[in-house]
């Protein structure tokens, strides 16, 4: 979906940087090769973007203007949590939920188009004060968890599996809001998704809370 948007808008001075928050060896490769992106497709094994921008889940995106200024801090990029209401056996989605999912995506893409065309005059470009309000709240436990995750990744890369996994579990315990950390430490199913029963238990435990944070954008479900 990003490739089409990039092709549509690149002549207007727009670029996508897609970053895979994948840490398992070889994981994102086949996906990137299949998507054949012509924009930079990068790999962030240590989740540096989580430290720098407060990313806690994917897809989350940040809008950055020509001067390198944050226009919209990290937020879900057109994602809607309709998957919580799908049939977990057949993976079928109720029709109204599928409609909301499509609406979230279309609303988000249209907002990007509007911003690319109108810059700071776009209704979706946040003012300085608004953008600050949307920044993630600082938590020292989170900063520590991110350091632990990074250490865990280094140790895994060195083949020190037991200790590496221990640091990642500890990071997830300290920073439970991060689905990126949790899913990286979780098992994956036959399709490579971290969607085993423990994932669904964790999702169900959210109750009324969101899996994808609410996006402050008119028309967004």
């Amino acid at each position: 979906m990003w490739q089409a948007l990039y092709e549509e808008l690149k002549a207007l001075g727009f670029v996508v940087i897609a970053v895979a928050m994948d840490s398992r060896e070889g994981d994102p490769g086949p996906w990137i090769e299949a998507a054949r992106p012509t924009y930079p497709a990068l790999i962030d094994r240590e989740h540096r973007l989580a430290e720098l921008y407060g990313i806690v889940n994917v897809p989350q995106a940040v809008w950055i203007d020509e001067a390198g200024r944050i226009v919209r801090p990290a937020e879900p990029a057109g994602a809607y949590e309709g998957f919580r209401q799908m049939n977990r056996l057949t993976r079928e989605m109720p029709e109204d939920v599928a409609r909301l999912t499509a609406q979230a995506k279309a609303t988000y893409l249209d907002a990007i188009r509007d911003w690319v065309r109108h810059g700071s005059k776009s209704a979706h470009a946040l003012s300085t004060a608004q953008a600050r309000e949307h920044l993630p709240p600082p938590r020292e436990a989170t900063a520590r968890a991110q350091a632990m995750f990074r250490l865990g990744q280094l140790l895994l890369r060195r083949g020190e599996r037991e200790e590496g996994e221990r640091w990642i579990r500890e990071a997830s315990r300290l920073h439970p809001e991060s689905w990126c950390i949790w899913r990286q430490g979780a098992g994956v199913n036959e399709t490579g998704l971290a969607a085993l029963p423990d994932f669904w238990q964790r999702v169900d435990a959210l109750g009324e809370d969101r899996y994808y944070a609410r996006v402050d954008m008119p028309g967004m479900p």
């Binding site: 950055i64 203007d65 390198g68 944050i70």
Partner: protein, 137 residues
């Protein structure tokens, strides 16, 4: 061999010595990895200098080396290390990151593509950037 992970990247520091509470690093390596240097008025990074507690200067620097673990404790920033003390992450604190983000200047980063080539956000200056994350899981 001790590996340091900092905001500036990953550094192998053969001359470093660590216990579970100390991380003595040759001054040159400490500067490359963290930007911090010892000066008469304290430990400094760019224009910022942090005075050291009177009488305890030797806990932080011994002339040719800096104890980065002691410095990080003094700065109240997160430092974590492997059980063997051979890998350390010296991170920024949440309040410092928040202060940087409040300026709304997008923090620069360098990340590799599939071929291993590094790309920086700052290379896209002059364009509007959608920085979007995803994962295969």
């Amino acid at each position: 061999m001790i590996t340091l992970l900092t905001d500036a990247g990953e550094f192998a520091v053969p001359g470093a010595e660590a216990s579970t509470t100390t991380l003595w690093c040759p001054a040159r390596d400490a500067e490359a990895a963290t930007g911090w240097v010892a000066k008469p008025k304290g430990l400094c990074r760019g224009p910022v200098c942090v005075p050291l507690p009177a009488g305890r200067e030797r806990e932080f620097t011994d002339g040719g080396r800096i104890d980065l673990a002691a410095l990080w404790r003094h700065l109240d920033r997160p430092a974590v290390h492997s059980d063997r003390g051979d890998a350390w992450v010296l991170a920024e604190s949440a309040r410092e990151r928040a202060a940087m983000l409040a300026a709304l200047e997008a923090p620069d980063f360098a990340l590799p593509d599939l071929a291993g080539r590094l790309h920086r956000l700052s290379e896209q200056r002059g364009k509007k950037v959608l920085l979007v994350t995803w994962a295969s899981w």
